[in-house]
C-alpha cells in the first residue's frame, strides 16, 4: 500500500496551485501589456489602418507575420499529443497537456490577429454570409475553426479523469473553481464504460488532428503561395511552413516545460530525461527545417531570376540581411550546435535554445511577409516616399505584443485552473511501473 502514499503525493504535487507573488506580478504585467494593445487597437478602429505603418506596397505587415507565427506554434498540439501517442512514444505523456494548452491559446490569438488585420472588421461576418470557396482565406477560416474545435476537444477529453480528482479538493480550489469543475466534469465517474468511450474518442481525435494540423499550415502557406510574388511563388511553401511550425512548436514546449517545472517544482515529473529527449526532437526538427530552407533559397539563388533578384539580394546581403542571417543562425544553426552536445540538452541550455528558436521563428515569419512585398514586379512609383519602407508603428508593436502577452495569459490561466501534468495518467503509469 505504499502506492497510495505515492498517489497522494503525486496528486498533491500536481494539483493546480494558487499564484504566488511572482505569479501575480507575471499576470499583472501581462494584463497591462494586453491593455496597452487593446488601447492601440481602439485607436486603429477609430482612425483605420492608417495608424499602422502598412501602406500600398507593404500591405501586410507584422500582423500577418504574427498570425503565421501563432498558426505555427499551434501545430505543437498535434505534434506532442497525436504524433507521440500514435507512435507509442510514452515519455511524451506528461507534456501533452502543456502542448494542448499552448495550441489552444495560439489558435485563439491567430484568429483574433487576423481580425485585427482587417480594414473593415465590422464586416467579419461576411466571411460566413458571402464566403467564396475559391478563396484561400475561406479555406483558412474553415480549417482554423476546425482546428480550434479539435484542440478544445483534445484538451477536454483527457481532462475528465483529472477533474474527478480535482473535485475531491474543494478546499484547495475554492468555491468558484469548484463549481466550475463541477459544471464541466462532474459526470465523470471513471467507470470502465466511460473510460472505454473516452479512450476511443482520444484515439480518433489524435488521428483526425494530424491531417487538420497539416492543412491549417499548408493553407496558411498558400495564402502566400497562391500569388505570383517573388519569394512566395514557391511549390515548397507548404512543407517549408510545416517544418518551421514543428520546430517553433517544439521550442515553445521546451520553454513551457522549463518554466512550469521551475514555477511548480515539477522536477520529478518533468525530468532531465524529458529535456534530453525533447532536445533530440528539436535537433531533428531544426535539421528538417534547415533542409527546407535550403530548398527554398538555394535554388532561386542559383538561378537569380530577374524578378527575384531584388528580393534575394535584399535577404542575403541587402536591407534584410541582418535579420535574415540572425533568424537562420539563432533560429536553426546555433540551436543545432548547442543541442548536439549532451550538456546542451540539460534544462537550462534547452530553455535558452527554446527561446532562441522562438525568437528566430518570429523574425523568420517577418521575413516571409515583408521583403516580398517590397519587391513588386513593377517599380514602386508615384506613391509617397513613406510607401517605400516599412517599419511597424507603435500601435502595431503594441497590438502584436499585446497578442503575445494574451497568449501567455491564456496559458497561465489554463495552467492555474487545470493540472499542467495529467494526474490520472501519471498515476496509471506509476501503477503500471509498480506492477
Amino acid at each position: 500500500m505504499e502506492n497510495s502514499i505515492t498517489d497522494e503525493k503525486i496528486i498533491a504535487d500536481l494539483l493546480p496551485q494558487k499564484f504566488g507573488k511572482a505569479g501575480k506580478i507575471w499576470v499583472g504585467v501581462l494584463t497591462v501589456i494586453c491593455l496597452i494593445g487593446l488601447f492601440a487597437y481602439y485607436r486603429q478602429l477609430r482612425y483605420g489602418l492608417i495608424v499602422t505603418a502598412m501602406r500600398d506596397y507593404v500591405s501586410w505587415g507584422i500582423y500577418i507575420s504574427n498570425f503565421v507565427f501563432f498558426v505555427a506554434i499551434s501545430l505543437v498540439g498535434s505534434l506532442i499529443t497525436a504524433i507521440f501517442r500514435l507512435a507509442g512514444v510514452k515519455w511524451g505523456a506528461p507534456l501533452t497537456r502543456i502542448a494542448e494548452i499552448i495550441a489552444v491559446a495560439a489558435i485563439i490569438f491567430a484568429s483574433l490577429i487576423i481580425i485585427v488585420d482587417m480594414g473593415s472588421p465590422e464586416r467579419f461576418y461576411y466571411l460566413f454570409t458571402h464566403g467564396r470557396i475559391q478563396s484561400p482565406i475561406i479555406w483558412d477560416v474553415i480549417v482554423i475553426t476546425t482546428y480550434f474545435f479539435i484542440s478544445i476537444l483534445l484538451l477536454y477529453y483527457p481532462l475528465l479523469p483529472d477533474i474527478k480528482i480535482l473535485l475531491r479538493f474543494k478546499q484547495k480550489s475554492g468555491n468558484g473553481l469548484h463549481k466550475f469543475y463541477n459544471y464541466i466534469g462532474s459526470f465523470w465517474q471513471g467507470t470502465p464504460a466511460q473510460f472505454k468511450l473516452s479512450e476511443k474518442a482520444i484515439n480518433i481525435l489524435c488521428i483526425t488532428i494530424i491531417p487538420v494540423a497539416f492543412t491549417i499550415h499548408t493553407v496558411t502557406s498558400w495564402l502566400f503561395a497562391t500569388t505570383y510574388r517573388p519569394g512566395w511563388d514557391s511549390t515548397n511553401f507548404g512543407a517549408y511552413f510545416i517544418a518551421g511550425a514543428f520546430l517553433v512548436g517544439a521550442g515553445a514546449v521546451v520553454v513551457a516545460m522549463y518554466v512550469f517545472r521551475k514555477a511548480y517544482h515539477l522536477e520529478k515529473y518533468i525530468t532531465e530525461s524529458h529535456f534530453e529527449k525533447m532536445g533530440r526532437v528539436v535537433v531533428l526538427l531544426s535539421l528538417l527545417y534547415l533542409y527546407f530552407n535550403m530548398n527554398e533559397f538555394l535554388t532561386p539563388f542559383f538561378k537569380m531570376k530577374k524578378s527575384e533578384e531584388g528580393y534575394l539580394n535584399g535577404l542575403f546581403s541587402g536591407d534584410f540581411s541582418v535579420v535574415f542571417w540572425f533568424a537562420i543562425l539563432i533560429g536553426i544553426i546555433i540551436p543545432v550546435i548547442i543541442l548536439l552536445f549532451r550538456q546542451g540538452r540539460k534544462p537550462l541550455p534547452m530553455f535558452i535554445v527554446g527561446i532562441m528558436v522562438i525568437v528566430g521563428a518570429w523574425f523568420k515569419r517577418y521575413l516571409i511577409v515583408t521583403p516580398t512585398l517590397l519587391n513588386p514586379f513593377l517599380p514602386m512609383h508615384d506613391v509617397p516616399a513613406s510607401y517605400h519602407h516599412y517599419f511597424p508603428s507603435w500601435e502595431e508593436w503594441a497590438i502584436t505584443m499585446g497578442s503575445l502577452a494574451g497568449t501567455l495569459l491564456i496559458i497561465t490561466i489554463l495552467a492555474r485552473i487545470f493540472p499542467i501534468i495529467p494526474i490520472q495518467e501519471t498515476l496509471t503509469e506509476q501503477h503500471e511501473k509498480a506492477i
Partner: protein, 307 residues
C-alpha cells in the same frame, strides 16, 4: 475631348440603333456586335422634328438618356452585354505629363496621394532605353485578385471589367498581394472627400465614394463606358497615349483618332505586360519605338511625387 462629348449627344436608335443600349440586360447580348439596340422604355416624349413636325420619341432612344437612373448593384456586377473592353497604351507617345492621373484622381475623388494610374519610368536592362509606362488595372481576363477575394467584393464582369464593391470589401488586402501589377490601393484612413460626395451611396461603376478600410483601383470608368463615353484618362491625355474600345467591335479610340484594334496591334507590335503569368490582361501596350518625345522630357514632371 470635344469630339467625345459631341458624340455622346446623339439622338440614336430611331432609324437604326443606339450607340450604347439603355443598359437593359434583357437585350440579346450578341445581336449587338456593331452596336446595341436599346429597348423602348415605353415612356414617350413629344418633341419637335427638324421639319417642324410634332413627333413622339421613346425616352430610351434619346441620347443622352434623360435622367439615367444609377444602375443597381446587381446590374453593375453583370456588366454590359456583348462588350469586351480593351485599352491600348502607346508608349511612344508618353512623356509623363500625368494628365491621365490627375483626371482620374479628380473623377474618382481619390484621397490625396493615392493614384490609380501610375506612370513608371522603366528601363528593362542596363543598355536598353528608358521609357515611360503608364499602368492602370489590367482588367485581367483571369484575374488573380478576383480568385482570392473571400467575399466577392471584387469581381469580373461579362464586359471584361474588374470592379470593387466597397460595401462588401472586408479589407483583407489579399487582392493587393495577389495582383502582380501592384495596381490596387488601399484606403488606410478615412479618405479626404467633400462631405457631400462622401455621403453618397457607393456605386461600383463610379467607384465613388472611396471608403475607409476598403480597397480601390482603376475601374475602366465603367460608368462612362456604359454611357458610351471614353474613360477620363483617355480623354484627358493630350498626346493620345490611351486608346479605348470594344474588342468585339475591333476598334479603339483615343478621342481624336479611332483605330482598328487588330491592325494597330499588328502594325505596331502590341503586347501585354507579364504575359507569362497567364493573367490575360485587357490592356495592350505599343512599344516605345519612333518616339514623339525624348524620355528626359518627362523627368521634370516626375519630381514632385517621387522625391
Amino acid at each position: 475631348m470635344e469630339n467625345n462629348s459631341r458624340r455622346d449627344f446623339l439622338l440614336t436608335g430611331l432609324i437604326t440603333a443606339g450607340l450604347v443600349s439603355g443598359c437593359t440586360p434583357k437585350t440579346d447580348p450578341f445581336e449587338a456586335g456593331a452596336s446595341d439596340v436599346a429597348l423602348p422604355s415605353g415612356k414617350k416624349v413629344k418633341l419637335l422634328s427638324v421639319d417642324g413636325e410634332e413627333i413622339e420619341v421613346d425616352e430610351a432612344f434619346l441620347k443622352p438618356v434623360p435622367h439615367m437612373p444609377p444602375v443597381s448593384n446587381t446590374e453593375a456586377r453583370i456588366g454590359i452585354p456583348g462588350k469586351k473592353f480593351v485599352m491600348v497604351i502607346d508608349l511612344s507617345r508618353c512623356k509623363n505629363l500625368k494628365k491621365c492621373q490627375s483626371a482620374c484622381n479628380h473623377a474618382h475623388e481619390l484621397n490625396p496621394g493615392e493614384n490609380w494610374i501610375k506612370v513608371d519610368p522603366m528601363q528593362d536592362a542596363e543598355h536598353t532605353a528608358p521609357y515611360w509606362e503608364p499602368t492602370t488595372c489590367m482588367h485581367c481576363d483571369e484575374p488573380p485578385c478576383v480568385k482570392v477575394c473571400p467575399v466577392d467584393a471584387t469581381f469580373k464582369r461579362q464586359d471584361g471589367i474588374v470592379l470593387i464593391d466597397s460595401d462588401r470589401c472586408i479589407g483583407c488586402r489579399f487582392c493587393m498581394a495577389a495582383c502582380p501589377y501592384s495596381t490596387r490601393v488601399f484606403n488606410w484612413g478615412e479618405p479626404e472627400i467633400a462631405p457631400a460626395i462622401a455621403s453618397q451611396p457607393y456605386s461600383c461603376e463610379t467607384s465613388v465614394p472611396q471608403k475607409k478600410g476598403t480597397v480601390g483601383k482603376c475601374d475602366f470608368c465603367a460608368d462612362m463606358t456604359r454611357m458610351g463615353e471614353l474613360p477620363h484618362c483617355v480623354s484627358a491625355c493630350p498626346n493620345g497615349v490611351f486608346a479605348f474600345g470594344d474588342i468585339n467591335q475591333d476598334s479603339v479610340s483615343n478621342g481624336a483618332e479611332t483605330f482598328r484594334f487588330s491592325d494597330l496591334i499588328k502594325d505596331k507590335g502590341g503586347y501585354r505586360l507579364m504575359e507569362d503569368l497567364g493573367t490575360k490582361p485587357s490592356v495592350y501596350y505599343l512599344p516605345p519605338v519612333s518616339r514623339n518625345f525624348p524620355f528626359e522630357s518627362g523627368l521634370e514632371n516626375d519630381k514632385e511625387q517621387n522625391k
